[in-house]
Amino acid sequence: MVAVNGQIESGQFPGFDDLYCKFCFVYGQDWVPAAGLEEGISQITSKSDVAPTTFVWNFPIDITFKSTNPSGWPQIVVSVYGPDFFGNDVVRGYGAVHVPFTSGRHKRTIAMFVPESTSKLQKFTSWFTGRRPEFTDPKVVARGEGREVTRVRSQGFVTISFNVVTKDMKKLGYDVSPSDMQNPSLVPATERIHKY
């Protein structure tokens, strides 16, 4: 059981204004969200006038997963959108990060990127029509498969803070708490194996 709460705190997207973000969780087959929201869409925020021109969303995340298998550990996928010069809603960045494994408070800064147009001409037309290349599914960024065909450009950062609470991880043989990492478990290997 992994309970995650936290917030999508802020983002840095130089050159843009009025952005909002969506998030969703991607997780493996053995994971089930037990409570909370899997997806969300934030308010539109404007760039602050003062020096660190960040976009502050402070958008809360609250979700609890249960799982039988650490494979497919949940990832949060964040995609940021905002109007462009012509007022079309355009994607400004995709990014994904795993929910931290260890319990406690974590802060993650995700580098965001957007897919590039395949040609200069297409770049122009997409700029003109306001329909930039987008991923068919934002969840693509949480997977490695098929990414080799894409070209992307980096576009800013999003900072997310997580408060992670885990339950029964150790009972099932997974040592993830930081103190355990320092002092490896004293349980003999054979015993540990049996608990899988």
Binding site: Q29, D30, V32, T68, N69, S71, P115, S117, T118, S119, L121, Q122, T125, S126, T129, R131, P133, E134, F135, T136, D137, V140, E145, G146, R147, E148, V149, T150, L172, R192, I193, Y196
Partner: protein, 1534 residues
Amino acid sequence: KYLQIGWFKLVDEEKMIQLESVSLMKRLMNSFNKRSLKLITFQAVRFLSDVQLRYSGGFCEEDKLHLIMFSLSGLPPVPSTSRMGFSELSIRERMREKLKAARSKAEAALSQEDLGPRPRHLKSIRERKAELRLDEGVSVQNDYPSAEEAYNFFTLNFDPEPEGIKVGARKRKIGELMVTDEDFLVMKPAECERYSEQLQKEKEFLFIPSMQTVPTSQKMPENMQPRYLEDEGLYAEERPFVSPSNQNILENRILRQEQVKWFGDDGRILALPNPIRQSSTRPPVFSMEEGIPPELETIYRKAIKTTAANQYLVGPGDFQGPFQLDIDISGLIFTHHPCFSREHVLAAKLAQLYDQYLARKQKNLTELLTDKLRALRNAVQRSIDSAGASGPTAQQSIPEYKIEIRQTRRLRDAEQEKDRMLLKSIIKVWKEMKSLREFQKFTNTPMKLCLRKEEVDWRSDEKAYEAEIQAEISELQEEYMEEYEKKMEEYKTELQEWKSWKKAQSKKKKKKKDLQEEESIEDYDLGGEPVKPVPPKMVDSLEIEQQVREKANNFRRKPGEPALIPELVLSGSVTPSEQCPRAEVLRREDVNKRSAFIKVFFNSKEVSRTVTRPLSSDFRVHFGQIFNLQIFNWPESLKLQIYETTGLSSTTLLAEVFIPVPETTVLTGSAPMEEIEFSSNQRVMLDHEGVGSDVSFSFEADGSNQMTLMTSGKVSNSVSWAVGEKGIPLIPPVSQQNTGIPSALKNIDAIASIGTSGLTDMKKLAKWAAETKLDPNDPNNAALMQMIMVVSSGEANIPDFFRLEQLQQEFNFVSDEEFNRSKRFRLLQLRNEEVAEFRNYKQVPLHEREISEKLFQEYEKKLHEKDVIDSKHYLDARRAVVASYLQKVRESVINRFLIAKHHFLLSDLVNEEEIPTLGILGLGLFKLAEPKRPLKPRRKERKKVTAQNLSDGDIKLLVNIIRAYDIPVRKPVTSKLQQPSKSSRSFNEMFAASPSAQSPTNNVDWAFDQVLVRPFVEVSFQRTVCRTTTAEGPNPNWNEELEFPFRAPNGDYSTHSLQSVKDEVFINIFDEVLRDVTEDDRDRGSGIHTRVERHWLGCVKIPFTTIYFQARIDGTFKVNIPPVLLGYSKEKNLGIERGYDSVRNLSEGSYITLFITIEPQLVPGESVREKFDTQEDEKLLQAAEKYEVECTSKFPNRQCLTTVIDLNGKTVFITRYIKPLNPPQELLDALPNSSQTTAELVARYVALIPFLPDSVSFAGICDLWCTSDQFLDLLAGDEEEHAVLLCNYFLGMGKKAWLIIGNAIPEGQTTYVLTLEQSQYVIWNPSTGCFYKHYDTFCPLQSVYCLISCDNIWFNIQQWDSPVRISFDISKPKLWKPFFSRSLPYPGLCSVQPEELVYQHSDKAAAVELQGRIEKILKEKIMEWRPRHLTRWNRYCTSTLRNFLPLLEQNQGKDVEDDHQTELQKQLGDYRVSGFPIHMPFSEVRPLVEAVHSTGVHTIDVSNVEFALAVYVHPYPQNVLSTWIYVASLVRNQ
């Protein structure tokens, strides 16, 4: 609280109170007069009166008094007004009074504060607040009514009585100490300050420092003058710059805070010195070169050998430092160059010849050989002279000498000839050159040839010449003599042989004289006649002499002739450019533009290059550069690349020259210059005098005698080993030449000694270690030693494999066996492998115990039984084999598909707008002008939904049932006897011959049967059943929409899973029959008791996948109606004759118009983009691709099919599938005289092969085409296979047939067959066996895209694609675009089909057995479906039906109805029979069961119903089985 309540009640009874209170007042006055507080008393009385009123006199006097006291204690004195005047007072006056009272109250309040305790317990917090505010308000209030007053005013103003008015004022006072105003809200107007006020207020506590300069005096303490340190000559630090306004603000601020300590002596703010330094603290970096910033400057450093590179070199002592190779490139001479003029060519030739001459002269071979010859002759002479003395040895040597003389002479002659020829050619070239110079009137080369004549003594010369000739003649004579003798000898022996043979021959002849001539001739032939030898001729001495002299004349200097010695000098003058013609000037300019450089390659790596030097006019380039190459290993190759640059632009590689690596003895200083020739095969053509390269040119004016020269030249260079400081040559050890590794290291470096492959061979390594005596204490060898220890200590098992992840074991968290044992890991593994059963398994349990064994059982069973054929389900071993084979093919294809699914295209991942073409833009503009609501609206394309974000209930299947035509009608039952007429259009009565059938029930039936038929449609999909309302008549019109929820298997809405949905939409047409069940005629008047019965009429089945791929299905379908429907007949001539009726009647059968779609529209999956292997010619495939692109660009909706994929997953050209094949002989023999019926029979045979769509069997995979023999083996396939087989059969029968690729309903993209019969085109549906005329409107084929024959493909390029509107004349290229045409002739592709199909004979016994089994199963099923009723079987009827079925098969379900019914009714007179035969191809039992179930025969629930069921299986060759099921229900007529 009492008071509170009473306060309001008081209002009504004011009058009474008034009276009472007056009397009370009087009493009070008396009792309190000593205090003489009249006014207060009054107030108290007033209050009391209220109280009294409230309690309606329930208080005793004491109480009242007490209350008065009570109230007095907290009451402020009220200003007195005349009690009597209350009523007269106007409201305004009252108000004033109140205010007065309030004023005086304050004083009273102060004085009476301590009169008594306040009854606080009754007050709420709010009241308390109000009270406080009131206290404040007292001081502020002037003429305005307070909030409270206002409130009171409004709550009480409907009270006209003076008392009520008074209350307002009084209550306020009461409120202070009492409870009464608990209800009052304290309300105040919003406090609003004016902006100016606000500013004023702000001014009071905000300070805005001014930006004015503060006078110095203020900043300094009193009586102090500011000091200026600078003025005093002291050092003052520079202050950091702060803008004056900011400084002023700060100063003002500080002043305000009165912290003068911040000001310095000079009246300015204290400040630290400016921290910013003007100069950089870092040491400056100076650029060495002008114009380059120092950061970007590059510094040359010598190459340093890294230590890491020699990790195999053990110990530093072995390092031998760099060796050096000096490459001296002095220059380049072109022997031919494109810019050569003709003269240059000659000059080069001349120079070459002259060089040759010089070389020859230096060697002087002729002289040498002449001397040798002379010496030999002398020797011979001497040996002959002293023959006796020197004995036999000398004698022996004479012939040897002679042979030598001969050889030497021959050599000398050749040399002499060469010398002579060379001289001649030199002179010839020179002459040519001279003439050329004269001709072109300018000189390009300074070359000049001088011939020096050397006078010789004529006499001695002649003598020597003659002596030479004589000597030669004698020698030759001698030689010839010898030869003659030898030949004579040979001749003699040969002659001898010949003679003896001749004799033998003549003897033979004599012997065989009596034999036949032919034989003798043969004999002669066999023997072969030896030629009679010719005696050799004696050579004439004169002849010899002549020969010798002639030779001498040709090659040798004539006696007395001066010896010519050519000398080449470069003293000639070159004509200056001004005097040359234009072309020559151009050439010279071009030469000047050219320059060359050379790159030096060491081990084919460029190490350096020379500077670029211009080409001189004599085509020499001088470099004169020496390159020192520091090397470590013996060079493998040294190479020079010669580049030429023209002008500023192009650099071309002229040639590559390999330089031999010098011997170790070749050291710098002593190395000779070597010239290495090179040449280039580049073709250069120039537009000026230059002759170019690889271009033929001629010296002759008429262009004859052409010659072609290539660019060539010589590089003069020298390569040598450098000599070190101490005079040691810097040469790598010679041994390296072979191994490439220093020999000193060889024994230490393992790789060097045993090779890299040896490293894996432990034994070799150990052997090597032992040999080299490695130092075991050397840490460098630790790893090696350890390994060797392991190897040598006991026969350690040397793994015979190479491990990539040697650390894998450390990361294994369970042992392998445990891993294999664990069910959980197994489950995870299988899921990861995407095994079908576990592909989407969610939430793998955490614990072993939670995984049930069952999970794997099925999978394991499948694994085990892969090869074991289970015949239980198939009833037929053959089919079971086929099924398992199909399963295997499917699996392999699915695996391939799964792999392909993991290959992504950009479009899969990224949504990107297409570049708008001009057409789209134009269309967009056109759309703007379109009317908003057009008069003829068109169906708009719905938005497609990708399947990924769908869940249960999102998808709906909409079925619109519009209308039907020609539904069979009931047969009216009449009492009249009617002869069954021959025409099927006449009425036939089922029970016409049976009078007993005319029971009263039937009469009632007839009453209901006024309506011919009452059909309704029931649609079932995924166990959801919906039905329409009941319509009437044979051409009903429902126009109803039925909605079905769609559930994907396992909730998986991916395209892949949607494609594999096997569900079908069943559209059944029923007739609703109302049957009177009133048993007693007496009840008839009072009530109607009918039962609704439904009779199945026919059905249409549409697979879901078709709907999914088509997105919508819209059209009229033929209803699948059984050939015999008991009790029904086709209504034909009763309908009103309308225009299209005649057309419709052409095609028999009922039709239903449907519109089916999915809401929302789903995106159909794309076929796999895998590139399949192929054995086709690459050119053909390219042509096919081009053809397809061309076709689809013109008609994007039409599919163009050129290549298909066969069962092995290989791309095959489509025409290879078409080949005439023989249909089963049985079918041909059946009706030998009618080709039409035979064709139908064949089509029926093909249609009898079960249908299995690819999209279901190979989900998501493109079509796989089986060859016809595969198809017949599998006995399952979809339209393509059927069509191919049928087409091949037709071809085999000698018809003209084509394959049609087109679109049909309901199949969608499909394949039909087209035949040409008697100048009429016929379209065949291969999966039903039906055929349609070219102009048949009810042909299910909607559009035609391609026609395919065995040698060509035609693409439909007509405007229309509907078969009715197009012409099938493929010979017209305007209508049909052929694939193979004149430009691409048909290459004669061989077919993939077999030569001939071999059919197994039909197995009658097996068919009978199968028949029995099916019947048993079906009977069981029907009983199963009727769990609540008893199912009786009418054996008599069953046997009757069984007799009918073969008849039906024989007639293919046609024209048997009448006979059949008469027959039936004869035998089953008193039964009401409803039933029908079902005909199906046989594949499995399940579809049969389903078909029977869908008819709903079993649903009848009349108590005395009986059933009859008969099955007939007719075997056709190759195990194609035609199955008939006759199912009927019988109700005995009462």
